[in-house]
């Protein structure tokens, strides 16, 4: 007995999609499977590691413990939406320059969490950065450089805004 498929309409990185899914499909499986957006990674699949973090209506959430049907009507942002025209987003550029990644598996989740943080707090305190990074696990043990990357990202995002850029 397979439950009836449900139609989900959602926008991912500005592109509208309409997909029929089994109710038990997690959002990350919808993103990576039918939508082909494999930038969002799947790690622990119970909401702890943060590799699957995406923005759901602007808020950073775990897409492995969210059902696709819960995202019906939502605006989703994934790591694929950060770079524009072949140019890295300032947050990505900061992670690159400050060595905020080693193997990179966890990085898409970090980038999306930091995107939410800097949207809400353009000049975050150390505690606010730690609170955000605490929800993301990096097993290459790169937290010190990731912390520095967030500081650098805040500067770059502020500079891009001050420079009248579109970001």
């Amino acid at each position: 007995m397979t439950p009836a498929l449900r139609t989900v309409r959602l926008t991912v990185n500005g592109t509208p999609h309409e997909v029929a899914v089994e109710p038990r499909t997690t959002l990350v499986d919808l993103l990576r499977g039918p939508l082909g957006l494999t930038g969002t990674h799947v790690g622990c699949e119970h909401g702890v590691c943060g590799a699957c973090t995406i923005l759901w209506n602007g808020k950073a959430v775990r897409s492995c413990i969210m059902l696709a049907v819960q995202a019906d009507g939502a605006e989703i942002a994934t790591v694929e939406g950060l770079a524009q025209g072949g140019e890295l987003h300032p947050i990505q550029q900061a992670f690159l320059e400050a060595h905020g990644l080693q193997c990179g598996f966890c990085t898409p989740g970090f980038l999306m969490s930091v995107t939410e943080l800097l949207e809400r707090c353009p000049d975050p305190s150390d505690d606010e950065i730690k609170d955000t990074l605490g929800g993301q696990i990096c097993r290459c043990t790169g937290y010190q450089t990731i912390f520095k990357a967030v500081r650098l990202a805040a500067e770059k995002v502020a500079a891009a805004r001050a420079g009248g850029g579109e970001r």
Partner: protein, 292 residues
């Protein structure tokens, strides 16, 4: 796909949700923010045949100040409590408890009502509800009723909610002016479930003695536990180090066998409960009387 198959329903009224619960009884499970339920589904520890997603019911997502306390709707996200100006300004204990819950990425989805209805004994909101003598408003086939927090938490992951009832609001009374408070917990990493935790409040009389104290221990039993005997010891006593240590020792001694698991033995949890209770009472006493 990790979760077992289930039917998904998204009612748009409380009555419709209650109807679905009544129709499916124990086969149905309410989905709110999903931060506890979804891991259980992914690990196939839970196998409901119907999910009732209550996030599409309008008017359940609110955090309001009522009579000096807070009225929190079933779908209010923990993050809404965390970022509420009113909570930050006037409900410091509620804010502090919220900041112990997992991480912002979980609090963005997780709800206050869901945490209380899930009733994990190591979770902060059930402990806070018990500490503040919260009232839980629930809706069922026969209408609404209100359950006191003391009667709500029955045992591990089990509450006084009937199968066809859903939580619709939690009312957290405010603390009287001058009440000191404290939250102490030990977790391996910040945001993890506490191995043991303690919440306390204290108010002092004109002579500097304890007028009233409340003490809740969590993560050390099948439910959060109100330390009634320890509270009685403190009433009218001078809150000196010896008295607070004795009350903390009593609270820990009164625990039935705490959980032993891979993270900690029962003995270790009992020791933690005593040490954390002493620290919590000392901090609550220090904060009492001032502008806490």
């Amino acid at each position: 796909m990790k979760p077992p198959p289930f039917e998904y329903t998204a009612p748009t009224t409380v009555a419709e949700a209650v109807g679905l619960l009544a129709q499916h009884e124990l086969e149905a499970k309410i989905l709110a923010g999903g931060q506890s339920l979804m891991p259980l589904l992914n690990m196939r520890l839970a196998r409901p045949s119907v999910l009732v997603d209550v996030a599409r019911i309008p008017d359940l997502d609110y955090v309001r100040e009522v009579d000096g306390g807070l009225a929190i709707g079933a779908m209010a996200r923990q993050r809404s409590v965390e970022l509420s100006d009113a909570v930050r300004a006037r409900h410091a204990l509620v804010h502090a408890a919220t900041m112990h819950i997992a991480h912002p990425q979980n609090r963005n989805q997780g709800t206050v009502g869901g945490s209380i209805a899930h009733a994990d004994p190591a979770a902060e909101y059930p402990a806070l509800a018990l500490l503040l003598d919260a009232e839980v408003r629930v809706a069922g086939p026969a209408g609404e009723r209100t359950i006191a927090a003391r009667d709500f938490f029955v045992t591990y992951l089990t509450t006084a909610l009937e199968p066809a009832e859903m939580l619709v609001e939690v009312r957290l009374p405010g603390l009287p002016a001058g009440t000191g408070w404290s939250i102490q917990e030990l977790a391996r990493r910040h945001g993890d479930f506490a191995l043991a935790g303690v919440m306390a409040t204290m108010s002092l009389d004109g002579a500097g003695c304890c007028a009233a104290a409340r003490l809740v221990l969590f993560g050390v039993g099948a439910t959060p536990i109100r330390a009634d005997a320890a509270e009685a010891m403190l009433r009218g006593a001078a809150p000196d180090a010896k008295t607070l240590a004795a009350a903390a020792a009593r609270a820990a001694a009164d625990l039935e066998e705490p959980l032993t698991d891979v993270h900690a033995t029962a003995d270790y949890r009992r020791t933690l409960a005593r040490v954390l209770a002493r620290r919590a009472l000392a901090e609550a006493a220090a904060r009492a009387g001032g502008s806490a």
